[in-house]
């Protein structure tokens, strides 16, 4: 059995899962296509708009190479997440590793699967965008060099993400750190090259350097091969003993208010929080919040020296940046976490299904445990961004006080968190993914539809209060935002109930 057989098995299995999903939920597939086209249209229109503004001296700091770097990081992050759950932490790999197959073939087969799926995703995205350009007549000068760079960087992101995941599972930290040093030059090179990329008049040399880097990154696979078995062993085994103190801190924290909760609900929430902390998932949350907050700050910095507020559309830009930051972090963390809540239980679902309570208790426990991380987002992303805009950048947002901006941002963040958790609980119970090789995470189609639905739902709840604020009806705007928050909390409650009912009808095995 060679690497190609392992890749084939992955490809066939993915194809069958996708086909089954489309046959089972054809309307969802159509909705997916509509959302994809709509998203491509929004992105292209925004790009066209920013290019037009660029001619007037605005958005001059956001250059095409920044977008290339973003593409690189998107594929890097996707590859890290996929490889961690499909390879480094995938217990089912025992079936390959216990066979007389070279572990190199297992590793290469899995890498090839990741690479092919990512390139297919890239090509689909490009194809849809071309289609939208042709149909809608959006004027964007097509640059083949740009597409070429994007293609190579997506490959490079995939390759570096794959090896990063394998190295990251190693223990102890010193060993992990040493092998990760081998990746350092690649990241430095990618950053340096993409920063200079689009100023260059001659593309060939840089293009060749990037291609060379891509092939060189494959050499990291040889290093991966050396540590693969150790990484997999560490990645699939739990740590020794119980980190009791951490569990107690969480179980006694005010996040789990004893007197307000049913004893069974509290037991379920405690267990969810203990799993989040001990599995290290909480660190992923912290890193995501920091990364997105940093990204929002970067976007604000990039635009800070331009007097946008003098323009007719300028007043929307800063609030939109903060809003997009809050949207991204709320979707990626409590949202996706709620979405994958049921699928992640996998075979453990028998414990919850055979206990004498309805599915709504399980859904509420998942919602509460995900809502427990909202202070991170509210104080991390929302409050920090509001503070940063109001003070550090010394930009007065249409004469609003910091307090008004901060209160509005915090309320908006909490509203989005409630909405996305509610939507995630319902979606997650309706379309759970019990695929063990994927660690129960939803497939890309479900995730995409979920993210787009979050965008629409978030916009529905935030637009009216935001409009009132922008028209200087400050008090009314804040009151409208409070009303939105109340309705969002109700939405969360009913979505969890609805998700619970789906869970009652859910069959496993």
């Amino acid at each position: 059995m060679g690497w190609y057989d392992i890749y084939s098995a992955d490809a066939i299995s993915t194809y069958r899962v996708l086909r089954k999903r489309i046959y089972k939920h054809p309307i969802m597939a159509i909705w997916f296509i509509i959302l994809m086209i709509a998203f491509a249209w929004i992105v292209l229109r925004t790009y066209e708009f920013s290019m037009r503004q660029g001619e007037e001296g605005i958005f001059t700091d956001i250059e095409p190479n920044t977008l290339l770097l973003i593409i690189f990081f998107i594929f890097l992050a996707k590859s890290v997440a996929d490889t961690t759950r499909r390879v480094a932490q995938n217990k089912a790999l025992i079936f390959y590793l216990s066979q007389p197959i070279r572990k190199r073939n297992v590793l290469f087969g899995k890498f090839f699967s990741e690479l092919v799926f990512n390139l297919l995703l890239f090509e689909t995205m490009v194809g849809v965008m071309l289609l939208v350009i042709i149909i809608s007549g959006i004027h964007i000068p097509l640059d083949l060099w740009y597409l070429g760079y994007a293609f190579i960087l997506s490959t490079l992101g995939t390759s570096l993400g794959f090896s990063f995941s394998i190295f990251n599972a190693l223990r102890p930290f010193s060993r992990r750190f040493i092998v990760m040093l081998a990746q350092g030059p690649f990241f430095i090179a990618v950053y340096s090259i993409t920063m200079d990329l689009y100023q260059s008049l001659v593309h060939w040399p840089l293009f060749l350097v990037l291609i060379t880097l891509s092939f060189a990154s494959l050499l990291l696979l040889l290093l991966c091969q050396k540590v693969f078995l150790d990484s997999w062993t560490f990645g699939t085994s739990a740590s020794e003993g119980v980190k009791k103190s951490v569990y107690d801190i969480f179980s006694r924290s005010p996040l789990v208010p004893a007197r307000l909760m049913d004893e069974r609900l509290r037991a379920l929430v405690r267990r969810e929080l203990a799993e989040k902390v001990r599995s290290g998932a909480i660190w992923g949350t912290v890193i995501t919040v920091i990364a997105i907050t940093w990204g929002t700050k970067y976007a604000i910095d990039t635009l800070a020296d331009v007097d946008l507020l003098q323009m007719s559309t300028g007043k929307y830009v800063y609030p939109l940046l903060v809003g997009m930051g809050i949207f991204a972090v709320s979707t990626l963390e409590p949202g996706i976490s709620s979405l994958s809540g049921i699928g992640r239980e996998g075979k453990n679902i028998w414990i919850l299904k055979t206990a004498p309570f309805g599915g709504s208790l399980v859904a509420k426990a998942k919602a509460l445990s995900n809502a427990a991380i909202s202070p991170l987002i509210v104080f991390g992303t929302a409050l920090f961004s509001a503070y940063y805009i109001s003070y550090y950048t010394e930009i007065k947002l249409m004469n609003y006080s910091f307090l008004e901006v901060a209160v509005f941002s915090v309320l908006a963040a909490q509203t989005m968190i409630f909405l996305f958790i509610g939507l995630g609980c319902w979606f997650g119970a309706k379309y759970p993914n019990f695929d063990e090789s994927n660690k129960g995470n939803p497939d890309i189609m479900t995730m995409y539809i979920f993210a787009m639905s979050c965008l629409i739902l978030g916009a529905l709840f935030i637009t009216a209060p935001f409009y009132l604020m922008i028209r200087q009806y400050n008090v009314l705007g804040l009151l409208a935002m409070i009303l939105s928050l109340d309705i969002a909390a109700l939405f969360l409650y009913f979505a969890a109930e609805r998700g619970g009912k789906r869970l009652d009808r859910l069959e496993y095995g």
């Binding site: 085994s237 739990a238 740590s239 020794e240 003993g241 119980v242 009791k244 569990y247 004893e263 069974r264 509290r266 037991a267 379920l268 405690r270 267990r271 203990a274 799993e275 001990r278 599995s279 996998g346 075979k347 453990n348 679902i349 028998w350 414990i351 299904k353 055979t354 206990a355 004498p356 309570f357 309805g358 009652d504 009808r505 069959e507 496993y508 095995g509």
Partner: protein
């Protein structure tokens, strides 16, 4: 041998009444009917893929029947699942457990999920630690446990609230002989307190040593029901293993068949 209709003189703890279950085109259960009397150990015996686990999962509330009724203490598991589940303890064949909590935390959680008082839960946990020789391992994460250790924790979790009815799917599967013996003794002890057990197995010796009555299930259908003695008489066999083969059908190895050579 009365197979399906429940005689009025007995108190019935579990009853399957014309159960059907299909997965798309595959018919897993077909007209399954049996009853389990209170205080009885009833076994579902059958070959792999016969439909035993599907049947157990329906009683545990994990699967829904396509048609027919599954009753626990007279309560329909589909119409009133919460009340029905409050009467049972359930142990699946391969009990997956939460990896990032300790055995003690798992058992405490199971007690709370069943509405037990904290003091009583703690007492019961200590009891299981002594009985099953769990020792300091009880405070390690479940992810570090061996298969046998997981089975011990899962079994303790299934009976921590002292249910009236216990549903065990292949309870001795994969256990070392020492713990299998402890488990069998615990099952026998459990029944002394007027409790009821529905268990599935494909090991005839387990069924013979534990069960008061047995239903032989094959291809999703009940092939025969009765006491061990009745089944032996019916199949004209001197032990349950031969009775099982005679009823289900199949061949014994004649000692001559060999694995085809590849070269």
């Amino acid at each position: 041998m009365n197979n399906s209709a429940a005689p009025p003189t007995y108190k019935i703890a579990i009853q399957a009444d014309g159960l059907y279950k299909s997965f798309e085109k595959f018919q897993a259960l077909s007209n399954i009917s049996f009853y389990v009397k209170k205080g009885e150990i009833f076994g579902l015996l059958g070959p792999n893929g016969a439909g035993k686990t599907t049947c157990m999962k329906i009683f545990g509330g994990i699967l829904l029947p396509s048609s027919g009724r599954a009753l626990i203490d007279g309560i329909d598991v589909v119409k009133n699942p919460i009340l029905a589940k409050s009467k049972i303890g359930f142990l699946p064949e391969y009990p997956a457990l939460f990896e990032h909590i300790s055995g003690r935390e798992f058992l405490t959680m199971m007690g709370k999920l069943r509405g037990m008082e904290k003091g009583l839960t703690d007492k019961r946990v200590e009891h299981f630690i002594r009985l099953l020789d769990l020792k300091e391992q009880i405070d390690y994460l479940i992810g570090t446990y061996s298969k046998g250790m997981r089975q011990k924790i899962a079994f303790s979790g299934a009976i921590i609230h002292e249910p009236d009815i216990l549903i065990l799917d292949e309870p001795t599967s994969g256990l070392d002989p020492r713990f299998a013996k402890i488990l069998k003794d615990m099952i026998k002890g459990f029944i002394k307190h007027d409790k009821t057990i529905l268990m599935s197995t494909h090991i005839t010796t387990v069924a013979e040593s534990l069960c008061d009555r047995v239903a032989i299930i094959n291809n999703g259908k009940i092939a025969s029901i009765g006491t061990i003695h009745e089944l032996k008489v019916q199949a004209d066999a001197d032990d349950l293993e031969n009775a099982f083969i005679n009823i289900v059908g199949g061949k014994s190895w004649d000692g001559t068949t060999s694995i085809p050579q590849t070269r």
